[in-house]
Symmetry: D2
Subunit: 113 residues, 4 copies
């Protein structure tokens, strides 16, 4: 694994662990626990919101802000995955499925139809 | 570290390499090269679209479809990152910044304001 | 009614009538009938897509394109309303509820919480 | 013409007048004036957010909530139109352009490409 991938693996693993632990936590003490307590729609609203913010940030010149919004979007999809018991391995397997030269584009193109 | 996180990080790193290579490729031969050729707005539209599909899939009972849509969303954010020269390591660093017990929620809460 | 409002009333009324009639039409002969046949998620995906296109168009200099995307967004919400049997009068009543100096902002602010 | 369409068009016209007047108002005294002061991105974020809420509401059984979210979405597109000096009549004209049996679907289909 490249050093970059290894660092990313560590933060994704840590986030998965922390987020799953937050599911039962006191909603008053933590933003994430508050989202879990509010229910899936609250998490999904945040995903819609963060996606909109990625679009806007990408149209603005501040690249640090774009990274910030992309991290917010990934973060809230990880919150959703914890809420729905979707493991990181399922996302990895699905992305791996569409890897490989032809595979990558074939799958993506089919999703386009 | 969970094997799932390593596997996911590795496929993300591999996708980063492939997607960056596609930026100069013939748009007729590849879905992703076509997106790059169409310009940032085409990529951003896909992100908006895939975010909407994540919301809908999360409200439907088919969990495999949800994983599929989450992978589509992550895939198109990777396409955007390649287009804008945002390395995966920048996103990893940003996610790491908001990790840690209090850090996680503090940052997220600030993003809420 | 001002001439502008009267023209708008006519087109909204005509759209409501046409869209409701399309609900049972042959999906192969009409885009809208195709959406109804594909089911609510197909309509909702279009709303997500068109909202993203409004955001992008608003960040671009072409104002005619923005009007085009706004019309697409309204159009697909009207398709949704026909699909769900929500009459124009319900939308008018809800918007009227939040009219008036204080009413306007009070309602909107509450939606913000 | 249905009474619903007239009522809706009238409230849209009244909102247009009120919203245009709010553009120069004290941002502390009014939610809408606050949005104008915060700039176009703040309005666009709200459109992204409200579109997501329409999707979620449409997937939930509460129809009154759907009407509420649709009104929120239309309201914020009116705020955007006031901010960008897009008159309601321009949107009416654009919607009228795609009316008529074939016109309706032809235009929509082209927007699909």
């Amino acid at each position: 694994m490249t050093p970059g991938a290894s660092e990313l693996a560590e933060v994704l693993a840590a986030l998965e662990t922390v987020l799953r632990a937050r599911r039962g936590a006191d909603p008053k003490r933590s933003y994430t626990a508050g989202l879990y307590a509010a229910g899936p729609d609250a998490i999904l609203k945040k995903i819609g919101e963060e996606a909109a913010e990625v679009l806007l940030a990408a149209k603005n010149p501040d690249r640090a802000q774009l990274v910030h919004e992309l991290a917010d979007l990934w973060f809230h999809t990880l919150v959703l995955m914890a809420a729905y018991d979707v493991p990181l391995s399922a996302l990895g397997a699905e992305l791996a499925r569409r890897m490989g030269r032809s595979g990558l584009d074939e799958k993506a193109a089919r999703g386009q139809a």
